[in-house]
Symmetry: C2
């Protein structure tokens, strides 16, 4: 039987980015399917009545240090984005309008731009650069992300995550068990192997 | 040169309890001094404008699951206290009025009672039982924890922690670097050894 892990993410989440390399290793295992679950983290926090750490001075400072430390310990190329936090609405909607292999590349290019290359991906010019690099036709892209169906789809995905008790990113779900935070990916993998 | 690690704790913090076994191993290393830093976690959260996870349904549920998982993975005897959260004011003040070896025993007995034996240590009868077990004269204890000097001392300790950017428990400080959460104790130890 194929085993699967649900991965809830938002491009603005540094800890989601920091879990990608470990997830890529998992992906090489053909018996394991990773279900990518895009959510709007800001919306999810709102639904859950949660003040994100980005809005608390001490927590923000700690998060930056902590992410840099995790990256260093795990040899992950990482740079704390000088424009953190941003509104990730358009780039997350964008993930919903692209398909197949291009979707994978868009995923990698967005995460790398924001958390490796210090690019503000909420800026339209920068986003256009990423689209070009990914081979996405920009007019189509911008038209689609403003369609009501796509707006509703991201909202739906976020609502569904909330209904499953997801309240942050990254969240991993294996066998209906929730694992929150990149620190718990190993526990999620243990659950996969159990 | 003797190396030292500051350990900020409150008896109501499950993650503080879950880091104790690892800290005990460190303590056996004579070159390392652990500075115990009692704080009132509720007061610290208030100072930092932080809503504790205990006051958010989803975060509370996750915290319980997460602690149970950490305990299981690390073979730590743990039971999620059915009276969580409690007001830890008196038991934390209590830590400040006791000295030497008895202080160590009080520390262990409070943590074990609350996070291993499901005892509500904010209840006066239960606290008396712990005092008896620890060999502390209860009349003296209750007189002292109501003295203005002790009230102020706990407030001072909490204020000082806040000034150092501490915002949660457990927090470890090594070489003026802050490590928050039991997940980061290993990083704090790496810093000790660096």
């Amino acid at each position: 039987m194929t085993k699967s892990i649900d991965f809830y993410f938002d491009f603005i989440s540094p800890y989601s980015y920091l879990s990608l390399e470990r997830l890529k290793l998992l992906k090489k295992n053909n018996d394991i399917v990773i279900n990518y679950k895009p959510i709007l983290l800001g919306g999810l926090h709102k639904l859950g009545g949660i003040t994100p750490p980005a809005f608390n001075d001490r927590k923000l400072k700690n998060m930056k240090n902590d992410c840099e430390l995790i990256a260093k310990k795990n040899n992950i190329k990482f740079y704390w984005n000088s424009k953190f936090p941003i509104n990730s609405l358009y780039i997350m909607r964008g993930y919903l309008v692209i398909k197949d292999k291009v979707k994978e590349n868009y995923f990698d290019n967005c995460f790398n731009a924001y958390w490796r290359d210090n690019i503000d991906i909420s800026n339209e010019n920068n986003l256009e650069m990423i689209l070009e690099k990914t081979g996405i036709i920009k007019n189509e892209f911008f038209e689609k992300i403003n369609q009501i169906e796509i707006k509703n789809k991201l909202k739906e995905f976020t609502d569904k995550a909330f209904e499953k008790d997801v309240f942050g990113a990254p969240t991993f779900i294996v066998n209906n068990k929730i694992f929150w935070g990149q620190d718990r990916l190993e526990y999620a993998i243990d659950e996969l192997n159990s």
